[in-house]
Point group: C2
Chain length 400, copies 2
């Protein structure tokens, strides 16, 4: 048995998201792109701001010496300074470039943070439902992801989180706007969380590092604001990327910002830089570091996501499928409808996603998100795809 | 103590290469670039082929929809096909695109391979001296790097490797041309290695995965050839990147190719793809995947490395510093000279590198490479830097 047993086991229970995405690519080539309604993955279909292409063209025209070479593991000083400016504005706290570490996407950035703080057997808390990859990221570095069910409206259950904290708790991941629910945590809730973490620290003697994973921060509806974590809890980092807001997911460009209020801000920053290096990321890709340093503040019109949200919820209403209305991001988290025709566990989300797939609709079962009985639809797809999916959803509902 | 203890410990004994590189950047801004002779890091100063810039310009001009989006974790089919063609030629074995996984540099690719095969406590063998990061890469995934001293001429000691193999041995890393020695392993030596691995497998019941780390394959002197591993041992992978041969180290673009002759080729490929995903690399950067698919076969003139090698060896001869003549790559591995003036352990490589640094020459102690008493000079720097370093080397030798 040459592949490690724990890897073979992890693979067999692995992410439906990627499986569905790759199955979708095959179905599209077989049935035609218009005949497959692929809501499987958060691959934004908005194009990057025009400045990205202009900068690429200029990079090509200039071909400056050394521009594809190594730079310090933390990133170019100019890029770190730009991220510090961006996150200072978001968090309402003055942040120095020295607190920024560029990463290979938010995923690479989060892995570097988790490796920096996890000792073998440590726990990482997360509110369920959650992005399933978090479980792998914790396990990569000897940790264990422990999920705490959210409240019924999908907001954080602060009391339950506080109760779950022990001296084994190294970190808490919060993700607002949330994938898969689109929930945004308001400032009062984060203030409550800060108070709970203060009490927990007094009880356990260990500070829990809050990792605010914010790739969807810019994608919000009805003028909502994503509240900052830095003012309410010193031992915190923001992890984010330009995958969603600048639509550059394939370029793997993200960052970590360490809260300057933390008493171990320097030590943690150094450890994240070290882990970025030894995990083999080495540095965030050079050309796109220069691009995001200039483009992070480009105005992007996200209103089409709202339009698409409303288009898809209209179709689900018509089909008779319930969902939670997202406040941000581009996912609809939906309840598996009651069975009327087929037999089996009424809320079996994997069976329902298979049933949807037979109707050429690709969604992802809720089980992997820690919430069985639900499923996720990513609506960062064309309006045409959404519109064309209408009959498929209705048929799937009727025949279920 | 919020940073994990094992990380703090690893950091304190961490790579001199990066420390020297970052110190060099500071020294250059203080003393002027012409007054610091920075031989610390393998950051190639050759520029990428002109086609890279042309492709970047074209990418910018076209701005094709979806070109910065996600693709399958293994990479674009076209890029995988191009790498299969490249490595088929190098290994003399027909390779299908399905055996290729694109990675975030060779470092990312190797981490994905090691995670795929290592169970807790497994050993990874390597011939010393070796690239120091290998120790971290093994440890990241619960493994232990075990180094086997090379023969006196820095070639592989196959008998010693065979003797070291036990049922705990998951992998063997070979690196030809070698960093830091520039040694190339001839075909007969690899055939001997294949025979030894066959005997070891019969003895232990476990096949050792050979990881051939080949980032310097194209950079060879005197028309030497880098012998292929695939024909001599089925359980093998090639890991490489375009950091050195196309001078794109900052762009983090590499790959793994699994030997199609392995009886678990499909299983291992799937596991490497899975590990690429869950380690947070997700995929190799999109734009540079397209670029290397078109540019991998560009002709690059590496003759300047030979010229620089000869320039630097001339200076070392003059100064009276011994070295091993590299057959490839762009590193000179040198012996710490006998002390005549200063006191202390005569072969103390860290002290000698400090002494060089006081003379504005940056090299890296051999201890981190598993070979105390030696030091490494990376000569992928301008001829001017090499020429200007002459007096500094002479002075350092005289005053040591």
């Amino acid at each position: 048995m040459p592949v490690a047993t724990h890897i073979t086991e992890a693979m067999s229970s692995s992410s439906f998201i990627r499986r569905m995405f790759e199955e979708g690519l095959m179905m599209k080539s077989r049935f035609g792109a218009d005949n497959v309604y692929d809501f499987s993955i958060g691959n934004p279909d908005l194009e990057p701001p025009a400045k990205v292409a202009r900068m690429l063209a200029a990079e090509g025209a200039e071909a400056k010496p050394g521009s594809h070479g190594y730079m310090p593991n933390a990133g170019y000083p100019e890029t770190r300074a730009a991220m510090a400016k961006k996150v200072s504005g978001e968090q309402g706290v003055e942040i120095d470039a020295g607190r920024v570490v560029m990463g290979v996407g938010a995923a690479g950035a989060m892995n570097a943070v988790l490796k920096a703080v996890l000792s073998h057997g440590d726990e990482v808390l997360v509110s369920a439902p959650f992005f399933p990859e978090y479980a792998h990221y914790a396990r990569n570095h000897g940790g264990i992801l422990r999920s705490i069910p959210a409240k019924e409206d999908f907001s954080l259950d602060v009391a339950a989180i506080e109760a779950a904290i022990s001296s084994k708790t190294a970190a808490l991941i919060i993700n607002s706007p949330n994938n898969p629910t689109g929930k945004i945590y308001p400032a009062e809730l984060l203030a409550e969380l800060g108070a709970a973490l203060t009490r927990a620290k007094a009880r356990t003697g260990r500070a829990v590092l809050v990792i605010a994973d914010e790739p969807y921060r810019e994608i919000v509806y009805d003028n909502r604001k994503v509240a900052p974590i830095f003012p309410v809890w010193p031992d915190s980092v923001v992890v984010s990327s330009f995958a969603k807001n600048l639509s550059l997911p394939g370029e793997r460009i993200g960052y970590v910002v360490v809260n300057p209020a933390s008493s171990w801000a320097q030590e943690l920053t150094d450890a994240v830089i070290f882990c970025t290096r030894v995990l083999g990321y080495v540095n965030a890709p050079a050309t796109f570091q220069r691009i995001v340093a200039e483009c992070w503040n480009e105005k992007v019109d996200y209103s089409s996501y709202l339009k698409r949200r409303n288009l898809l919820t209209g179709i689900l209403d018509e089909a008779g499928i319930e969902y939670s209305v997202p406040e941000g991001a581009f996912y609809l988290f939906c309840k598996v409808p009651e069975r009327r025709v087929t037999s089996g566990n009424p809320a079996d989300d994997a069976a329902f996603c298979d049933h949807l797939k037979a109707n050429h609709v690709l969604g992802v079962p809720g089980k992997g998100f820690g919430k069985p009985g639900w499923f996720r639809l990513a609506y960062c797809v064309s309006e045409k795809t959404i519109t064309l999916s209408r009959e498929a959803f209705k048929k799937a509902r009727i025949e279920w």
